[in-house]
């Protein structure tokens, strides 16, 4: 397990995270293995509704627990359960590191 805080540019406009760049943080797809906190979910469409319904609310702590091989989906722990997301889906979720939780 990666003990370093997530390697994510704090203000850069990340690819695939359209509309949320001004909120800071980075896309959930780019976050590392350490837990991060949700800032916002970009967009207003069925996908953002699904992410919302899945429990990715602002303030929620998300932790990546697995990656499928060859750039496949990512697996996260969120709201106490395991949620698999495509990288494009994860990119919609804007997250920021949690300083004191590192490791």
């Amino acid at each position: 397990m990666n003990a370093l805080p997530p390697d994510c540019p704090l203000t850069a406009a990340s690819a695939g995270s359209e509309g949320a760049a001004e909120a800071g943080g980075c896309g959930l797809d780019e976050a590392g293995a350490a837990p991060v906190r949700v800032l916002s979910v970009a967009g207003d469409d069925p996908l953002s509704e699904r992410l919302e319904a899945a429990g990715l609310w602002p303030g929620t702590v998300v932790e990546r627990i697995a990656r499928a091989p060859f750039g496949g989906p990512l697996l996260f722990r969120v709201q106490g359960y395991r949620l698999a997301l495509l990288r494009t889906e994860a990119a919609r979720v804007r997250v920021a590191p949690i300083p004191e939780v590192a490791g």
Binding site: A53, G80, Y81, A84
Partner: protein
């Protein structure tokens, strides 16, 4: 309150997320899963069941799982509409709350309360929540939610009696709106560092071990379908032979006997023969699904299948189709995205199903040495898979273009599958198969029988009768065998004179470029409603009397006849090259009326079954012609 309620009946809808344990709860509530029903005007299937409690008739319906009150898939839409439709609205909603996902469940419950319908909350998976390190404080939860709330245990049925009582007696009053306080996340603190599921996942989702384990699971599935099912299929065949013998003993030679034996017994037998494979397959898929592993397989395979224009969830329908496309097509319902679902349905029949196997086995045994047969058999399966990939890629760039890729799915906690649930699912699937395939294959068999039997020529009968008299008069030790040979030639002569053979001969020019002689063309025609009809038809055409299609012991006589029958020029009618063309034709062609009926049922239009039939037949013909022509140019065959 509805009329039903006034008469001492209550309509109760089980509502909740997918995987919240609704179906097994329904099973415990009523003791059985009585009938799967289609919601009006949809292919969305659900299960209804009822039970009597203290003079109240509880009519329960298991609604499709939803993620939120804003539906995104057809299933979700059906569930939400069922709650809103004034005509079908339940008297009471039983909200099934998965304790292991408390925060998102409370969010959904909040939205559900806004409907104003009475709600009873059944809390499931408290043990899972504890094992995952998020124990539930029921008293606190009860106070916060302020609705009738009961603990139930999906595996043991613990607490179900109390829930049943509550559903029958709870006053039908609208719930008060919920304060905002409840929507507190449960993310706070986990009581343990790693749960059993975390440990299993670190192995089963490992970049190396994960895919290896997946290959193992798929191999076990194929073993079940092709090896374990074999003896059961043998028994069905043996009973079919026994019944045939009994019918033949009880009836006179003629149209009626032929109708009973070749029409009815063969028609029923050729759909029953698939039941062992389908039952084993569904049982296995249910076990994998209920254990929580299926979602992991989808997770691991998603990237690879996306490359082919499919989705990780296509894995289940496509793998099932190696046994039979009908349960495979029904399984495509798990695909949330409509384009993914249609692409999966369109290519599922290209997976070599078990009805193609006897065709491969007979031709391989006749024309290839055992050392090459295995490789050729693998090649036939590969032909279907490669074609499926190409067709799916083309579809996703044309008719099914666009759409954003979606997955967003829960990977559930690993659990021991419950035998009762597995048995119930298997039985429902077998019943549904028998309903679709049983009727369609049965009638198709009878139609093919009639076309192959009529018209009956008196001249032919008289000619062979005269020959029989001669043979009998000559006598000698071989008389029995000689008489049987005459009978077989008579059957062949009648078949050659039949409507089926006339159609075959008329179509012969279309199949000549693939090297098929008219007999093969008739076999192909006979196989259009159902592939399994090809072996008996070829058997009759090559003058063998009745030939059984048994993948275990392909009839030696049929192999010899296929190899030895020669044309007017003395050249064999079939050679290795033509055999490959025939096998590839069968691998790619859509010869199964029941599959087309299943596609019609799942897509609600004739467009898709017609398209599938058209493209597969075209593809099969092109491939067979290409193989024969290129092969001849290369001097093969």
């Amino acid at each position: 309150m509805s009329d039903a309620a006034a008469l001492g009946a209550r309509r109760v809808a089980l509502f909740g997320r997918a995987n919240s344990g609704k179906t097994s709860l329904l099973m415990h509530l009523t003791g059985s899963l009585q009938r799967p029903v289609n919601f009006p005007g949809t292919s969305v299937e659900s299960i209804e069941s009822s039970v009597q409690v203290d003079g109240v008739q509880l009519q329960l319906v298991d609604l499709p799982g939803v993620a939120s009150m804003r539906p995104q898939s057809k299933d979700e839409q059906v569930a939400i509409e069922h709650l809103r439709d004034p005509a079908r609205r339940p008297d009471l909603i039983c909200f099934v709350l998965d304790a292991a996902k408390l925060a998102v469940e409370l969010q959904l419950l909040r939205q559900l309360r806004d409907l104003g319908a009475p709600i009873v909350v059944a809390v499931t998976k408290v043990d899972v929540a504890r094992a995952e390190g998020f124990p539930i404080d029921m008293d606190q939860l009860q106070r916060a939610v302020g609705l009738p709330m009961l603990l139930v245990h999906g595996a043991t049925g613990e607490g179900v009696a109390a829930l049943r009582e509550q559903l029958a007696t709870t006053p039908l009053v609208a719930p008060a709106p919920l304060g905002a306080a409840v929507q507190r996340g449960v993310e706070t603190q986990r009581s343990i560092a790693r749960s059993r599921t975390d440990r299993l996942d670190s192995l089963l989702l490992h970049p190396l071990f994960g895919p290896a384990a997946l290959v193992g699971v798929v191999l076990v599935m194929f073993q079940l379908v092709f090896k374990v099912a074999e003896p059961f299929m043998g028994w069905i065949e043996a009973s079919q032979d026994w019944i045939t013998g009994a019918v033949e003993a009880a009836t006179d030679e003629g149209a009626f006997r032929s109708f009973c034996v070749d029409g009815i017994v063969n028609g029923v037998g050729s759909s029953l023969i698939f039941v062992p494979q389908i039952a084993l397959l569904i049982a296995f898929v249910t076990v994998v699904e209920a254990s929580g592993y299926m979602a992991r397989a989808v997770f691991l395979l998603d990237r690879a299948l996306r490359g082919f224009g499919l989705s990780g969830k296509s894995f289940v329908p496509l793998a099932s189709s190696f046994a039979c496309a009908i349960p495979g097509i029904a399984a495509s319902r798990i695909l949330g995205d409509e384009r993914d679902r249609l692409a999966t349905i369109a290519v599922a029949p290209l997976m070599s199903c078990s009805a193609r196997l006897p065709v491969y086995v007979v031709l391989l045994a006749a024309f290839f040495p055992a050392s090459q047969a295995g490789l050729m058999l693998f090649a036939m399966y590969a032909v279907g898979v490669v074609a499926a990939v190409l067709v799916s890629l083309v579809l996703r760039r044309t008719a099914l273009k666009g759409g954003e890729a979606t997955l967003a799915m829960e990977l559930p906690v690993y659990q021991r599958p419950r035998l009762r649930l597995v048995g119930m699912h298997t039985w429902l699937a077998v019943r549904s198969f028998l309903k679709t395939a049983g009727t369609v294959i049965f009638f198709a068999t009878i139609v093919v029988w009639a076309l192959g039997y009529f018209p009956r020529s008196e001249d032919v009968s008289e000619k062979f009768e005269a020959e029989r008299v001669q043979v009998a008069a000559r006598g000698g030790p071989q008389v029995e065998a000689q008489l049987a040979a005459v009978d077989a030639r008579e059957a062949a002569a009648h078949l050659e004179n039949s409507y089926l053979a006339r159609a075959g001969k008329a179509l012969q020019p279309a199949f000549a470029p693939a090297g098929f002689d008219w007999r093969l063309t008739v076999g192909v025609l006979a196989a259009f409603p159902a592939r399994e009809l090809v072996i008996p038809t070829l058997g009759t055409l090559y003058s063998l009397g009745d030939v059984e299609a048994d993948p275990d012991e392909p009839d030696q006589r049929l192999q010899d006849a296929l190899r030895d029958t020669t044309g007017p020029d003395g050249e064999p009618l079939i050679n290795g090259l033509i055999a490959v063309a025939v096998m590839v034709f069968f691998a790619l062609c859509s010869q199964c009326a029941a599959t087309l009926a299943a596609i019609r049922r799942e897509t609600h239009s004739w467009r898709w079954p017609l398209f599938v039939f058209g493209y597969m037949t075209g593809l099969a013909w092109l491939a067979a012609v290409a193989i024969y022509q290129v092969g001849r140019l290369l001097g093969l065959g």
